[in-house]
């Protein structure tokens, strides 16, 4: 459990959990629901896609989630500001939320964000009254611009989406934390619980992940591990780690060790 008073607050909304989890790529809907439950997450991400007009059954597992979780629609798959803005507006109408995880990608191989398009989309969506949580690169200047524009949280990647490569540039994340007071969430790259803990120890406010849990051999167990990793990292950050030093510093008292003459 989080300490009382240590809630994640985004755009005035309070969350007890600092983990946001995706709903994609699980072996089956039952595992998805159990994993989300085990993760302790209160907010889950969904995507917006064309309705298959010839498909007879249109039941979506998303409907199972709407009563229990805060739904955060994303604009995954959008390459331009125009596509991302329309997708966000469709999501607002479909789901009744003005929150959006803004994703504007540059290419299929890296899924890295297209920053000029991302900034353009963020500006338009903010002007349209959205609560914008942009997925962005781990570049301090980009993050600061998004924060200054009024994004409710800024979400730099730890590593490419789905890569499980962890936190590839912790030094940038530290700089970003130093420079920005807006809630910061590592979005993408987390592969296992220690990655999540590291990001939290760097002072990030939360973690957004999906593949690391959904594609783990045991998704429900990994979901719990992520929950604990996030909590451990957060507690360690708040507790304040000791400085690193190159040489030893004995933890046991030096006074009174036997075998030494004490009369000089």
């Amino acid at each position: 459990m989080e300490k009382t008073g240590d809630k994640l607050i985004i755009a005035g909304r309070e969350f007890n959990s600092r983990l946001i989890i995706g709903t994609s790529r699980y072996p089956d809907p039952g595992t998805m629901l159990a994993a989300i439950e085990a993760s302790g997450a209160e907010m889950v991400t969904v995507s917006i896609r064309r309705l298959n007009l010839t498909e007879p059954s249109r039941e979506s597992p998303v409907e199972l989630l709407r009563d229990r979780y805060t739904i955060l629609p994303n604009t995954a798959g959008c390459y331009t500001a125009r596509e991302a803005v329309l997708t966000a507006q469709l999501a607002r109408e479909a789901l009744g939320t003005n929150w959006v995880k803004l994703e504007v990608i540059g290419d299929d191989d890296t899924l890295f964000p297209d920053i000029p398009e991302l900034l353009k989309a963020a500006e338009q969506l903010l002007a349209d009254g959205f609560v914008v949580l942009p997925y962005c690169s781990d570049d301090p200047i980009t993050c600061r611009k998004l924060s200054d524009m009024g994004c409710a949280a800024v979400m730099p990647l730890g590593a490419p989406i789905g890569s499980g490569m962890g936190i590839r540039n912790p030094y940038n994340l530290r700089i970003i934390r130093d420079q920005i007071d807006t809630p910061l969430i590592v979005d993408a790259g987390v592969g296992t619980a220690s990655d999540a803990a590291l990001a939290m120890e760097l002072g990030f406010d939360g973690i957004l992940l999906n593949t690391a849990v959904a594609q783990a051999q045991h998704p429900v167990d990994m979901a719990r591990a992520m929950r604990l990793g996030v909590e451990a990292g957060r507690l360690a950050y708040r507790a304040g780690r000791i400085p690193r030093r190159l040489y030893a510093n004995a933890s046991s008292p030096l006074e009174g060790v036997i075998g030494h003459d004490t009369d000089g």
């Binding site: 917006i48 896609r49 309705l51 007009l53 979506s60 998303v62 629609p73 997708t87 469709l90 109408e93």
Partner: protein, 68 residues
Amino acid sequence: MDLKINGESKSFSDSASLLALLEQFDVHPDATGVAVALNDVVVPRAQWATTDVTDGDSIEIIRAVQGG
């Protein structure tokens, strides 16, 4: 009238309201998690009945799916 629906060209004999068109695809105003854009502008479901579609219009019908 020729329309583009979810990127696919389709022909219809008569012009119609957006609502009538959507109902041909079993999309009703009480459907949850669904939204519609006409020529890149979202049409709230309350306005489906009073919105006309005309030749050359482009329509996107979306829903929420699992995502990351």
